[in-house]
Amino acid sequence: MLRLSLKRRRALLPYLYLAPGLAWLILFFLIPLANQANVSLQTGNPETGYSFAWHFATYTDAISEYHTQFLRSLLYAGIATVLCLIMAFPLAYFIAYKAGRYKNLLLLLVVLPFFVSYVLRTVSWQLILADDGWVADTLRSVGLLSSDGRLLATTPAVIAGITYNFLPFMALPLYVSLEKIDRRLLEAATDLYASRATAFRKVTLPLAIPGIFAGSLLTFIPASGDFINAALLGTPNQHMIGNVIQSKFLNILDYPTAAALSFLLMSMILIGIFLYARVLGARNLMESAG
């Protein structure tokens, strides 16, 4: 390695950096995934066995039958992502600029609820949001909830659950991106522009775009495949594509459809990422940087 010229070394470097992680992903993700692609085009059932048949009808049937759940998943995940952004941005900003030496502690606090298992967290919300509970009563007395309304087993409950569970995935990338903005830049901007609001809009926000991009993706993508919030906090009218895939796979043993639904979801997400990157003018994030 040392005998190679500097130029050669520099050229090899990206591949060297990439190799271990990529190898891991290829072996433990791509190969299983390719197998699933194979499965999605098979026909058959558990008794008579499966055979590869280029059966693309599985995909078209899946879209026509479950387009509601697909759209619903994207909608819920989208709303949750926006809510996460609204809630997490000021939090990330505060930690990045105002927290001083307590930065790492606050970051830890953001993530700490995950160390308490998912089941316990969701059960706690079910207790808090109970129909006769304190929260529901308060909302009723204020008039935000109708007298026979409920908080659980509703669409807002599911979206709130998704938002709650993915908040750290938005907050941390936002923090990471905000923290690296040079404070002197902000000072200069404040001197240049009349108001801090303008400084924020013209300097901070654009520089935070990588963080917003990263956070949105880390929130939206897994949220659209989520099933557990809809299962525990929703009714059948809130069930997402994740629930369909779950039952197809485990209960109905319809592996080709489950695989096809997964690939359809993945394609939608990839297209969404691509469009989103364009919208943010972040195409340069994808192509070679300076």
């Binding site: 470097l13 990206p14 591949y15 990439l18 992680g21 433990f28 993700f29 791509l30 190969i31 299983p32 995934l33 809630m87 997490a88 000021p90 900003y93 505060f94 030496r101 790492n104 502690l105 606050l106 830890l108 606090l109 609820p113 995950f114 160390f115 308490v116 298992s117 998912y118 089941v119 967290r121 706690s124 207790l127 808090i128 908040l167 750290p168 941390l172 990338p173 990471v176 991106s177 690296k180 000072e187 801090r196 990588p210 963080g211 991009f213 990263a214 993706l217 880390l218 897994p222 659209s224 779950q246 796979f249 485990l250 489950a258 993945m266 990839l270 990422i273 994808m286 192509e287 940087a289």
Partner: protein, 287 residues
Amino acid sequence: MTRRDRIRTWGLGVWAGLTLLYLFIPVFIVVLFSFNDNKGRFNFTWQGFTLRHWNHPFADSDLAQALQNSVSIAVISTLIAVTLGTFMAMALVRYGFRGRSATDMFVFLPLATPEVVLGAALLALFLTLNVNTGFVTIVIAHVMFTISYVVVTIRARLEGMDRHIEEAAMDLGANEWTTFRKVTLPLIAPGVASAALLAAAISIDDYVITSFNAGQTQTFPLYIFGATRQGVPAEVNVLATILLIVVLGLMAVNVAIQRARSRREMRIAGVEPADIGRELAEATARG
């Protein structure tokens, strides 16, 4: 600092505090119910305060083992994922190479794949390779799906980062490894730390993929999911609380060590810590 700035800072602090509070409400309930004097096996109705669950929290050795497994898996898989992911992020951000955009998109795919399909597909691979499922396969699975989080998070740090310092270091004669260690790494440290926290959190809470690839190994989430059929015992709440306290404690120790170290360094440099403190406070207030 103007009054408006003070209000703005105060408002920001309140919002941040409320958001953190919101994140912690269920946690408070979990901690609270570890003291619940429940009569049956379910733990939903407050019956009164008791310390009895705290007497022998580790009595069920299987539950204790499950918690231990979860923690070990989280630590190991985080270390591996952060290492692999950091290097991947660096390659993707800093170098143009063939297949870069494709690799970029590829990194998002694990996030987009539904867990049940991912878990079962991975299990199929292990079975075909004749690998016994257990602790190791869980770690492999966890690394696999946390790498994406790590890469995306560290990219947000690397993007648009000024490379001049690193180039200067290399011009001065440092090789790539030294530059990375002494210059790059400290610069991306917040990204790495955040990525590590995320990866650990995901790993310690994962259920679906783990359940497929765990073999006969038990983890904390697996145990709890299974226990919901009969009622999650309050000892689980106790253990969860203990875990939180331990992690917070470690972080508090870390903060204290950092503070002592920076004080010592400043004293060595002949600077009074108090001055630095005041300057920092003013600077942050302005910023």
